[in-house]
Every structure is written in C-alpha cells, then in structure tokens.
C-alpha cells in the first residue's frame, strides 16, 4: 500500500476485496494519470495493461518489484485518459484495448489498430475492413523501403517488418504484428477451468510450462488454494527444463544466423536431450498440460530423477567446450559484439524482462522478487550484464543455463514428498467474483496472468500478458543505425514471441 500511496492519493481509491495476492484499487482519472507519471519518472514499472467491457486495468510494480498492485478505472463513456501519452511503452497495449474492447484512449497519439487487421467478423473489430495500414512516414533523400514478411523464407512465425533504409543502414524499422491472433481471451471467457488451463498452455507453445504455472498460480491465488509442496517443486523442475531447452536452442540459433552452424548442430543435440528427458520423465517433450491448477498432473519417478541427474551431467560436460568455441570464434564474435545495442535506460523504461532486460542491466527476475515457490526457498544467481548487445544476450543465456542446472540439482536433492495436486475450491465466495494474478518467469521474461472467476468456478475474464509486449518495441530501436543484414541476428537474440503477443 505504502509503495503506491502517492499514486492512490487520498481516500478516493477503493480497495477491492478478493483480489490476491496483490491489491487491486478502483481509482479515478486523477490517480490514473498520476500512475502514468509515476511510470514515466521511473518510480513504477508497467507490468500489465488490459481492458474489459467498460473497464481498464493497469498492473504496476515498484522499480524493484517488491510490491505490485492493480489499478482499475471504470470508463462508462467508453474512453479513458491515455497512459501512452505520458508513458510510451503502454502504446501498443492501449491500441489493443481499443481493438478488443472498443475503449478509446483519450489523447493517444497513435490511434491505428494493432491486433485488428480489419479482417475480423463484422462488429468484432474496430478497424475498418480493407483499409491499408498506415506505416509511419519516413522522409529523406535516397531512402528506400524493404517490406519483410509476414511470410518468411524460413519456417518461423508470421510478422511484418517494414524497414526504411539508406543503402544498407536502417533508418527506421516498424513492426506490424497480430497475424496469429487467435482470440485467446475471448475463448477463455466462460471456459471451464480445465479448458482454460489447456488454452493457457497453448498461448505460446515454447513457454507452455511457464504459462501453465502462471495461469495455475493466478487461479490458486484467486481461490486461496494451497498447492502441495511437491507440486510446487515439480513445477520448478519443469520450468527450469523448459528454460534450458529454449536457451540452448536460442544460443545455437543466434550463431546459426551468423552462418556458424556448428553451434546450432551441437546446441540442437543438447536441446534434443533435454526434450527427450522431459518426455521420459513427464510424458511430453514440451511438458504441455503437466501443470494444472491445483498442482501437477505427472509425478517424477525415481528413474526420472536419475534421468534428469544424468542429463544435468551431460550438459555440464558438453556445454563448456561449446562456450569456448563461441568465445574463441573471432569471426562470430565480430558479428555479435557491439551489434544490436539496447540502451539500459530504455530496457528499464519499457520494463523489459528476461534475457533482453538482464543483458542491458535490468536486474529483474520475478523468481527472485516478488518470488514464488519453490524459488523463495532456493539459492540462485541472476546474471546481469551492461553491454546490451547480441553478445551479452548470448552470454546471459549461457549463464542462465548454468544457473538452471544448479537449481535443478538443488530441487532434485530437496524434492519433498507428498500429494501432487489439490482440488480447486472455486465459487464458495458468497457470490462475489474471485480475482487472482500471478507473475512467473518464463524463458523470455515475466509472464503475467490475471483472472476473474465466476461464482460457478468458470473463467469470467483472463488476461495473459507475454513478456514480448515490452520487448518487441525495443527491437525497433535496437536496429536503428545497424545494417539491414544484421537484423536477423538482433531479432534472434531477442527471440520475441509472436503467438503470445498476438493472443
């Protein structure tokens, strides 16, 4: 409460009951604008920003993430004061609110639709059908445009990148996303708990464990469910397996974008071993649907624990030669060092989490703070670098793989016995809705999931916010002044999610 006292001001902010674990306040427009200024001044960080019918919500954290809160503003007139006008990182979220809920941000500079490409069924979207998207104008001598995507030469997710270049030097990059909009939030509304959990696991397939933990965490917070310790520790184990698999894949893929395919081949082998271990221990290579609200669906057998121990040993044995190969390949270092520099102040202003933020000096890891079980009982490092280039992002990934290995060793050693899951007791709240929120560190960064449950236990409203929301805009700034041919390297070192962002 005290952390946000200046924003909340006098007694006009009304604390909402049944929002856990962090408070939610119903505020007026003055407090809303104070929050925007607090974010701009760096006192607070924007963590989430979403709408629903006639209401917008803003999740805030203090700069060090030791306190969070949600501000809600009713907008019966269908509009609300723009946060983006004061604090730019909110811009795309605000445009999304306009697309999905027809709530207009008053005073916003950018009124173009974002996720809505004018192709939704009549009456659903706000964008006029068939109108061309107006890219920001760029003027100058001998500039040319290079449109890339949404269909790419490789098998990757769809996104459009509009480069304006002067020769080979990029003057401006503008992203156009939303091609994989699946209507997740609408599918969630009214869904049963089981169906919604499955949906949450499919928002971004490569972080299915992190999303499932975040969704389960939000549900458990809303219903004040106590999860058995063994389930919490198994969740941690799965999350670290997922993190290692993705980081290994990314390290190899970044090097491969500089045509250094040896790294990809060897990292690919290691990643495959992680996936096979996941399959052997939890019955699914990506561990999809293994985390359920209330606990986990699969237990780790003794044989499985031995398997993971062996995997840890194998990675510990194979990784150091790969790291020294990366570090000693001068031709590769020449590509990664100094390329795609992200300024630390931008990473901080955008609340950019995960590898991208930590490579630019933003020492935020939600496993550490605000923390959640089992990480509150574990010792681990949060590697941070200041260089902010592609090389730094590779190194953060390497260090995080090492940290995750250490974490998994600890978890295997201290894995408590006990039941795997408990039932969710939803709906016994005297008819008033239960709300919960969770912040979970996926391999890309902090995933936020906010839910409101109906009295009958089904989902009323669920908002998942991918870490990529605060990373995609930074990719645009990172490429400025670099050459066009370095974009794939920058892009891969960010490795933002399209699916999680487009919802």
């Amino acid at each position: 409460m005290h952390a946000f006292a200046t924003i909340l001001g006098d007694d006009k902010a009304v604390l909402q009951p049944d929002h856990r674990p962090w408070p939610r306040y119903q505020v007026d427009e003055a407090a809303w604008i104070r929050a925007a200024h607090a974010m701009r001044n760096g006192v607070c960080t924007l963590v989430g920003y979403w709408g629903e019918a006639k209401q917008v919500h803003l999740a805030l954290a203090t700069a060090s993430y030791d306190a969070l809160c949600v501000l809600s503003l009713a907008c019966p007139e269908g509009h609300f004061p723009s946060i983006a006008l004061v604090h730019l990182p909110a811009a795309r979220l605000e445009r999304t609110i306009a697309d999905l809920f027809h709530l207009r941000a008053r005073g916003a500079a950018d009124l173009r639709p974002w996720l809505d490409h004018g192709r939704w069924a009549a009456g659903v979207g706000a964008a006029p059908a068939g109108s061309a998207y107006a890219f920001l104008p760029v003027e100058g001598e001998s500039l040319h445009q290079i449109p890339v995507g949404p269909v790419h030469a490789g098998i990757i997710e769809p996104g459009h990148f509009r480069f304006t270049a002067c020769g080979e030097t990029v003057v401006r990059l503008e992203e156009r996303l939303g091609y994989v909009h699946k209507g997740i939030e609408r599918l969630m509304a009214g869904a049963s708990l089981a169906k919604a959990a499955r949906l949450a696991g499919r928002i971004s397939g490569d972080s299915t464990v992190a999303y499932a933990i975040a969704f389960a965490g939000a549900i458990e917070a809303a219903t004040a469910t106590r999860v058995p310790p063994r389930a919490q520790w198994l969740r941690g184990l799965m999350a670290e397996l997922e993190r290692i698999a993705n980081h290994l894949g990314d390290i190899g893929a970044i090097c491969n974008d500089a045509a250094f395919s040896v790294m990809l081949a060897h990292c690919g082998l290691l990643r495959e071993q992680v996936l096979r271990a996941a399959e052997a221990c939890f019955g699914h290579r990506l561990m999809m649907d293994r985390v359920v609200p209330g606990g986990v669906a699969t237990d780790l057998t003794d044989a499985g624990a031995v398997h993971i121990e062996a995997l840890i040993g194998e990675i510990r044995r194979c990784l150091p030669p790969l790291i020294s190969l990366y570090d000693n390949a001068a031709s590769l270092q020449d590509r990664t060092v100094g390329t795609g520099f992200l300024r630390p102040e931008l990473a901080t202003r955008f609340g950019c989490g995960g590898v991208v933020g930590r490579a630019s000096g933003r020492a935020i890891d939600v496993r550490r703070r605000p923390s959640y079980p089992p990480y509150d009982q574990l010792a681990f490092d949060v590697p941070v670098l200041m260089q902010g280039d592609v090389n730094a992002r590779v190194w953060i990934r390497i260090r995080e793989v090492e940290c995750s290995l250490a974490l998994m060793t600890q978890m295997l050693r201290r894995l408590p016995a006990g039941p795997l899951a408990t039932t969710i007791a939803a709906g016994d709240n005297a008819g008033s809705p239960q709300e919960g929120m969770a912040l979970v560190e996926g391999f890309r960064g902090d995933i936020l999931v906010w839910v409101r449950l109906n009295p009958d236990g089904s989902i009323d409203r669920c908002h998942p916010r991918d870490p990529s929301w605060f990373q995609w805009p930074l990719l645009e700034t990172v490429i400025d002044g670099n050459i066009v041919a370095d974009f794939p390297l920058c892009n891969k070192s960010f490795n933002c999610s399209y699916s999680g962002h487009d919802l």
Binding site: D257, A259, V262, A329, S331, A485
Partner: protein, 318 residues
C-alpha cells in the same frame, strides 16, 4: 583422325563439367552435413533438385520483362562455356587456344552483369538489395581476379591456361612467393564469387542477409534450374581453375593415349574431392562476415595479387 579425336575430347570435356558440377556441390553439402553430425543428403540430391525444378511450372512476376526470362539461359551458357574452356583432365583440347584467363573472367563478368540486371528487373526490394550487394562484391573481386591472372601470365609467359598448366608441369617452378600470394588471392576470390561463407551463405533462409540468393529470389521452375546449374558450374569452374594452375599433375597432354586420358579424369575427380572437402571444412569453421567487411576481405585478395606481380618484377630485376 586427329581432328575427330580432338572433337571427341572437347565434347567429353564439355559434358564432363556439366555432369560433375552438381556432384561437387552435393559433395560439399554432404561433407558439411557430416561435420555438423548430420547424416547429410545423398550426393545425387542436386541432380534430383535440378530434375524437379525442370519439371516445375515457372511463376513469373507481372512486372518482369523478356530480360528476366532470357537471363537464366544466358548466365548458364556463359558459365558453361567458361567452365568448358578450363583444362580439366587434358590440356591442349580443341578450343584451348581460346582458353584465355581474361576471356574466362570476361565470361563470368557477363553472366554476373545479366543476373544483376534480372535481379533489378522485377523491381522487388530483395532483388535490388541482392543486385547491389553482388555488384559491390564483384567490383572488388574482379580486379583481384585480374591481378592474380596477371601474375600468373607474367610467370608463365601466357594468359592461356593450357600454357600455364604446361609451364607449371614442365618447368622447374619450385616454391615461389608470388605463386603463394596468387593462390591465396584466387582462393579468396573463389569463395566470394561462389557466394560461400564468409561472404554469403548459400543455405540461409534469412532474406535480409542474402546476396546471391536475394538476387534470384523471384526465379522458379526451369529458370531457377538454369541458375542453380550455373552456380554449380561456377563452383566447379573455380575448383578446376585452381587445380589446373596449382595442381596440374596427372593431366593428359596433347596426343596422349586413352590411358593417359583415363588417368587424367581420375586425377581430376580426386582434385575436385580435395577442393570440395577443404571448402566444406573452411565453411564450417567460420561465421559469415558483415556485408561491409566483404570489400576489406576482397581488398586483401587484390593486394595479394598486386604484391605477387611486384615481387615477380623484383625477383626478375626487370
């Protein structure tokens, strides 16, 4: 009778280069795959690819002109002729009087010129990027190649490849610094001209980093087959050129019997295998360089060629 023989051998040479070229590329790909601990495609895969492309429908951009359709054939022809001129398994073939190194450079230059025009013809941004990058590379690679040619011709007293090969075989050339410099220069040019790592990545799917591939991105069907075949031939051409000048052993000479020709062919294939293997190892051990580093890289080749010529003059004391 001698004339008939000459014609047969020249025809054999022309067919040999076309027949072997996809195999060489297939071999390089296979070695690279093995080095990356993959099983690798069959050596015949490039042949199958060409066959597949030849049967496929051609998709033409609406904005393309006749030039776009003609260029694949022109490119292929120019490079085929150039490749057929290089003494592979035998020197002194029928057209060897025209196997002039400068003519070969000119033929390659012509092919590239038209390909770059075709890249621009469609008017897509990738074609433009590819053409502009290709010409940037060519503008340094071609002088470097010519410098190397000058050094060689000064040494051998002729720009004809047959004579150069003959000179290298018969004269006691020994180790010469100039030759070493020329070898390195030619290797650098060969890597750049064939769009190999570190200058270009022939296997990339990243549109923004492509050079050669971006230029030919709009091609499909039999046109693409022609361009692919031309690329295969070009790789073979450079391998043959290096083999002919620096490893001329085993090559049959004028008037040799069929056995000598047989030995020549076996020796030639062995040389190609070595060249392909070395290329694969080199490519695996290095990352692609930034586009703007390429002129520096090729500038080194130019300087090496120049140094070779200078050293030759100095050692001969004019």
């Amino acid at each position: 009778m001698a004339v008939v023989n000459d014609i047969i051998i020249q025809a054999l040479q022309m067919l040999l280069v076309v027949a072997v070229a996809p195999g060489l590329t297939g071999f390089v790909r296979w070695v690279k795959a093995r080095l990356l601990r993959r099983r690798g495609p069959s050596l015949l895969q490039p042949y199958r690819d060409l066959y597949r492309l030849l049967r496929k429908e051609v998709v033409l951009a609406e904005s393309s002109s006749w030039l776009f359709r003609a260029v694949p054939y022109m490119t292929f022809t120019a490079i085929w002729v150039a490749a057929a001129l290089i003494p592979t398994f035998a020197t002194g073939t029928m057209f060897s009087w025209s196997a002039d190194m400068i003519a070969i450079v000119a033929l390659l230059g012509t092919a590239r010129f038209f390909l770059a025009l075709a890249g621009l013809d469609v008017g897509t941004s990738f074609g433009g990027i590819g053409s502009s990058r290709e010409m940037m590379i060519a503008s340094v690679a071609e002088p470097a190649m010519l410098m190397a040619v000058f050094t060689l011709s000064l040494l051998a007293g002729s720009t004809q490849l047959s004579s150069v090969a003959h000179f290298m075989l018969t004269q006691h050339v020994g180790l010469r610094i100039s030759l070493g410099l020329v070898l390195v220069a030619l290797l650098i040019v060969a890597v750049a001209e064939n769009a190999r790592i570190p200058v270009d990545n022939p296997a990339t799917h990243l549109e923004l980093t492509m050079v050669h591939e971006a230029m030919v991105l709009e091609y499909s069907g039999r046109h693409l087959a022609m361009i692919e075949a031309a690329a295969f031939l070009k790789l073979l051409l450079y391998a043959s050129l290096l083999a002919c000048v620096f490893l001329p052993w085993g090559t049959a000479a004028v008037g040799d019997g069929p056995v000598a020709y047989g030995i020549g062919i076996v020796a030639y294939l062995a040389k190609l295998t070595i060249a392909g293997g070395l290329l694969a190892v080199f490519e695996t051990s290095i990352a692609k360089m930034r586009v703007f580093r390429v002129p520096e890289f090729l500038g080194a080749a130019l300087m090496l060629g120049l140094l070779g010529t200078l050293l030759l003059f100095v050692s001969r004391s004019l």
